[in-house]
Subunit: 476 residues, 2 copies
């Protein structure tokens, strides 16, 4: 069965890009449409996003933020108010030029991000330190005119949340920026079982208009890195551009200090590429739309379906449970739910029922467990927790295996070629070295991790005095 | 206090439009931006929408629907596939003509609604009757290029859900169309305390591309009607345009029968205009972001703040509770939370605490209740339920007072002038009469209610044989 199934999708190690495409379509996460570069997120993919979103939204609210909704369109003149920002985004925006039959007097941009809209609003509503902090967030769709696109990873339109906050001081803004990065890291590690490296982006890689950008970086099965979320300390750049001032505690006019931070549907692509295997998707139990799928065996025999449906009702009180009582052969069902990465399968046939037992099959390891129906809830709960922990541990191990240290540029190149993955290496801080490394190896600086190590005294590229330890990798 | 406050907003009966604008801004539901016709939904407005959305989403899922997400953009050629549909929507869409620096080969429409995107997708995924029904829904933003706009009621961009379903037969599609209209009616009546008239739209007023459109219509304080949600039986029009066929149970190729239905942020405008008064917003308890606001009295006195915060913690287990312990004067606080329409205010001062009591003040009636702290939860619960029921009853009474029967066209005109509101009158079924009525009175046919009455034998306009009883009104 497994063998027959494997032939249906491309092997990961054979053609990883094709494997990815096979998985996202065959697991019914997305469908293509006639809209170039956009995807249809199908029920299974959207249910995943809803689970991720609900967990993140809860934490965003717990940390004192409020949700708002800003307009989709941005007048060209508004986007131009912050110079670095427009320079960064102008090449990749969609332009609305006509409304109905009329040509617009001013072109509108379909938001690629909403700093300028928040900037304008904050100017209206902030007057005194009593109005601070302002901790806003929005869940929205944004558009970036990408040339090459892939479902979840890089699409013309994607879904995300974008937080935008204003603070009295630089220190408070810095604290917020890092706090939200930690929230993102927690969602990745605790729910998506994706281990991340937390750190700061270099000047070259930071957000257009930011003072500092922080990032969480994860490593995919093929050894390429994926920027999983970013959090920006904006300083007072937007505040000066938009005139967002407040009367401080000493009665002086000050510019607010701002942050922005975003988490997108891209993370679903990361989840696929971190946990998936040759049989398809593997979804971590905590965010799985269906945690357990019941497949009755020999369901035409008396009592089997009743037993299975009773079990479903019983387990649904505690777990997200599905049941497939269709007339498809069990083997087909096994394949389908393996492809969809459902963490646990429960098989129950006449013999099991007689012996008051069922069979649990783990998606991650394939392990079969024959367990008693008595106390089944606690068995399932502990197996799901074990799957969740194992996925994180396996991903961590994979990342460690794929992380190397390079002291010389030759080592850098050799390791990148042989192992792919993250390269930890020292850097002098000069953009010219970043550019040279990118040119010669295609690897980019992923981040200067919070946990710095002193691997050498010299820059891996130019040999000058090293300032930072950097994670480098080829990236999505 | 109340008097001082009243002067801050325009009276309802003085200038209803200005009153509305005052309320939406002063209650901090929205802010304007430099994007013409678009609104910023502020935290309080968005929290209202989240509560409405969560209730509706739960019911959409309980009735077997799954959420998906479709692209924001629609290629021009795709929109043109269904003729009535493009004719209806072309005058009011926003056109994207450029991506980055490049002119697009084909223009894209920013979705005004997504029938054609669902049509294309359904063609891909439906093959047999086993694939039916398909019951999809999406939560999204849509854009319609409106000339005159008002927050919530008519905006360039708005938020909504749009359901799109496919069925084997006309009867099943009809059943679905009416079922979802009932869900909308339940949300309006049970949660928003807005009574609705359920009925069918005339040919003239139906959705572009639909076979039948059903609607729920509500009546605002000023006597104008508001279309509160619609549900469309699409027949096989889109199915034929997009080639959505399936192999039926007899092995024959058939076109699917479709429905679509939508519920928008517009409903917040209805809530404001149905329940609001000269002191501002009145929010029904079941959807209120804050159901109860605690205002400590003489809070500098020993024990008052401790008492108030303990009470907040205790009540938060059962209600959505706020507390305002800022240094503003109680009178200012009263005004602010009355403007925001918070259903109940709880006052607690030193004397109350001594006597183990608090004061509850109802937003709807202004009634003050001195109640014991013992069993406070059940007192509050019953007062909130009473407010919820009273609001619905009051709105129902208002609608009845503003509903008249007209047998002759003269009566029609007089009643419309004198009472505004709904006019129930018989109609021959001819579009020419609908047009004449609109031309001479500005009233439009709101719906042919499910509950038909025989008021006369002749059409109120032309005197020909009457076919339907119709609700007429001037409308938003």
């Amino acid at each position: 069965m497994s063998k027959k199934f494997v032939e249906r999708i491309t092997g990961m190690d054979e053609d990883f890009a094709q494997w990815y495409t096979d998985v996202v379509t065959k697991a019914e996460l997305v469908d293509y449409s006639s809209v170039r570069g956009s995807m249809i997120i199908r029920p299974y993919g959207y249910a995943l996003w809803e689970n991720i979103r609900n967990e993140l939204d809860r934490r965003i609210k717990e940390t004192g933020h409020e949700n708002v909704y800003m307009p989709l369109f941005i007048p060209e003149s508004l986007l131009q108010k912050e110079k670095d920002h427009i320079e960064g985004f102008a090449p990749e925006v969609a332009w609305v030029t006509h409304g109905g039959d009329e040509k617009l007097a001013e072109r509108l941009v379909v938001r690629p991000t909403s700093e300028v809209l928040f900037g304008e609003h904050y100017k209206n509503i902030i007057h005194s330190y009593r109005d601070l902090p302002k901790l806003y967030n929005q869940w929205a769709n944004v558009v970036r005119w990408e040339k090459t696109t892939r479902p979840f990873l890089r699409t013309l339109e994607f879904l995300w949340q974008e937080g935008h906050t204003c603070h009295e001081t630089d220190e408070l803004a810095q604290e917020e920026t890092v706090k939200m990065l930690e929230v993102y890291a927690e969602i990745c590690e605790k729910f998506l079982a994706i281990p991340v490296v937390k750190g700061q982006k270099t000047e070259k890689e930071k957000f257009a208009g930011a003072k500092h950008t922080y990032t969480i970086e994860s490593l995919m099965h093929d050894g390429k890195a994926l920027q999983s979320a970013t959090s920006h300390h904006l300083g007072d750049g937007f505040a000066r551009a938009f005139g967002i001032q407040f009367l401080d505690r000493e009665g002086k006019q000050q510019y607010v200090q701002q942050t922005s931070w975003g988490f997108t549907t891209r993370i679903i692509g990361a989840m696929i590429m971190v946990h998936g295997d040759d049989r398809g998707l593997v979804v971590p139990p905590r965010i799985a739309p269906t945690q357990l799928m019941i497949v009755p065996i020999a369901q035409h025999k008396e009592g089997v379906l009743d037993f299975a449906f009773d079990l479903k009702e019983r387990l649904a009180a505690q777990f997200r449970v599905g049941i497939d009582a269709s007339d498809k052969k069990p083997g087909w069902k096994f394949n389908e739910y393996e492809m969809k990465g459902i963490p646990l399968r429960l098989e129950a046939g006449p013999r099991d029922i007689e012996q008051n037992q069922v069979v649990l099959v783990r998606r991650d390891t394939g392990e079969k467990l024959t367990v008693s129906v008595d106390g089944l809830e606690s068995t399932i709960a502990s197996v799901l927790e074990d799957i969740q922990a194992s996925l994180l541990e396996k991903a961590r191990q994979h990342r460690e295996d794929k992380t190397s240290v390079a002291v010389t540029f030759d080592e850098f190149k050799t390791q990148l070629e042989e192992k792919a993955g993250f390269i930890k290496a020292m850097w002098c801080g000069e953009q010219s070295c970043e550019e040279k490394i990118k040119e010669e190896t295609s690897a980019t600086s992923r981040c200067m991790p919070f946990e710095q190590e002193s691997l050498a005294d010299e820059c891996v590229c130019c040999g000058a005095k090293a300032k930072h330890m950097v994670y480098w990798a080829k990236a999505y």
